[in-house]
Amino acid sequence: MEVFLQQLINGLTLGAIYGLIAIGYTMVYGIIGMINFAHGDIYMLGAFNALIGFLVLFGLGVSWVPLAILLVLIITIMITAAYGWAVERVAYRPLRGSTRLAPLISAIGMSIVLQNYVQLLQGARNKPLHSLIQGGITVYEHDGFAVTLRYLQMGIVVVTLLLMIGFTLLITRTALGRAQRATEQDKKMASLLGVNVDRTISLTFVIGAALAAVAGMMVVLYYGQIDFYIGFLAGIKAFTAAVLGGIGSLPGAMLGGLLIGLIEVFWSGYFSVEYKDVAAFSVLVLVLIFRPTGLLGRPDLEKV
């Protein structure tokens, strides 16, 4: 019971991070139908920008942690969003309207570029950061085994929830959200009706990158160390989460993220740490066999 509760808390935290990254995949897939393979590396860049931001702020003498976190959050979101925009502008926009595989290859190329760019500039070694937010509350104690909920974990889940609410409002209530949904349904019609399609797609990438940036910053705080390669596995897991929830569906991405996080944590807790990735993928395969469009995805109608 205690172990179960503790794993549940850990799994929800990890799942929240996956969910935030998965939204970027699912939005881009929904709007232009491509797998943005570089998205995992955008998240990695977010983590690096956050780490460097903390380092510089502490170097400049900002020692009050909440202020540092707020400043770093703003800086990280700005820079990472700019990366999202630049990647779309450079590598995907020239390929709009060509075959389906061309942007995929370009995205894989971009992912290789970003990984090596960071490796060359910042080195291949692990980058540690001392933990900024310590402590937590004991939720439940039994036979000397205490289930703790760290403040950081609470923060991660709360921030994710807030972002999700804000994001849902953005998509359902604002002009930008309307333009986005219109573009998703029919690009040509949307552009005829006065929606600036290029701008909408760019903004989709910017929003996705901003959410990934928040995820990156939370990972820096949570694990306290990053390297240039973290984007690959996190990206694959997040994409798996997006597919699991039903690609193109925003609540699906969040649900998928939570499920992947929980599966991973419970599997490592109860069975074996080595095979946690295998477990996540096996669940994906099983779900896809019985529900080929994911948990919350709408079945595509085949037009003949």
Partner: protein
Amino acid sequence: MAVTALQPVDYQKLTKGAIGAGLVTLLLASLVIGIETISSTGALTYETRFRAVFCAAIGVGIVYFLVRLINVGRLLIPLIGGIVLLILTVVQAVAQVEGWAIAAFAMFDSAVVNWAVILVPASIVARVALALRAGAQGGTTSRAGGASHREANFSTYYRRINKQFAFLLIAVAILLPFMPFADRRLVDIATLVLTYIMLGWGLNIVVGLAGLLDLGYVAFYAVGAYSYAMLSVNYGVSFWVALPFAGGMAALFGVLLGFPVLRLRGDYLAIVTLGFGEMIRVIIVNWWWFTGGPNGINKVGRPSFFGLDFERNPPPGEVSFHTFFGLDYTPNQRVFFLYFVILVFALLTNLFTLRIRKLPIGRAWEALREDETACRALGINPRNTKLTAFSIGAMFAGMAGSFFAARQGFVSPESFVFIESAIILAIVVLGGLGSQIGVVLAAVVLIGIPEFFRDLQDYRMLAFGIGMVLIMIWRPGGLLSHRDPTVYLNKGKAQSGAGS
């Protein structure tokens, strides 16, 4: 055509765009380039290198301005600007090497990056020169028109020489080891390129013909390599006996993995195959008592030439290649032999693909790629048809894998990471989906050329990625992008788009 009147250029807008590009670059570069984190004994410290950030921002702004001007047909300013930039970049790169006093102002600390930056103004000057030549020949000033015209020309030309070109390539491949300039390194690289060509041709069956996006192709390569390695080490089975078994094993895995998931469409299939690729690697790493874990398997047997091996001192009772033919022993004999083995394998893969396209099953693959619903209506069983493509593709990967194991003499999970799948897929797509010669061209560009730049270790993968993006933008349909359906229904409208 006479020189068309140029539209007036909105310099204000252009300048704004250039400043915008510069500012975005400044933002992008600010932390990742501007601050270098240094791990020293537990704690992290940093150093600044802001000069590179400002140089990059200003450079991107200027280049944006010049390229936009070329695009609207103004060539004078880009020509002058390009030449000035060219001189500046060359001077600073040389200054850094020679250690002149002005080297303190060099853009970047790394000499390789400083030299690579020269390529940017060089490409601007080259583009201006091309545009000037096209203008002098009375070509259109419109860029898009010129490109499609060029492409059409290229396509008809290519179709005419296609067959001769193929035979020429084969002749070059056969004669390559006997050329005076062929040393061991060249033949080694050629062997590697041929391995990737074979993998590319194998994947082409799955992606190019059947239209199934497979992101985990390397899993079958791994199955083939490990099958042979284990047979060889545990039971002493020779390469040629194990080869069909390794191919069959990979094909079996193709059927097992493909059966549940092949009814998924497009991108769902892509992520599931990617997952399978990762799963097989994770299993190889962790199932250590069976596969040797991260250390892999050592001392895998080498292939022999009809029972003659390539040792200087063969074990008692066996005859070596050089003694049988009365030659002097050189280690090159084995290298050349392996080269010819993979050449034959690759050509067999190609021949198989060319022939099977003419059989009902091959036709069914291509039909399925174009329209699955129509195929179902015509009584083609989509799952079985896809399954054959998937498992035949897997079989070729398995054979290539066992060759890889035999050539290296050891296998380890590091050789079978996702990036390998991505590279093979990139070879197929960059070559032009479904184009057999395109695969050769792409493999030479992506595998062969970077191999010659091994000395630039760190920058090799960066350049590789940039190359992938640039080739895709330059020729979105692949290097040889024309593709004819095998069967024409109606000559007029029979061109189909690549990919489904």
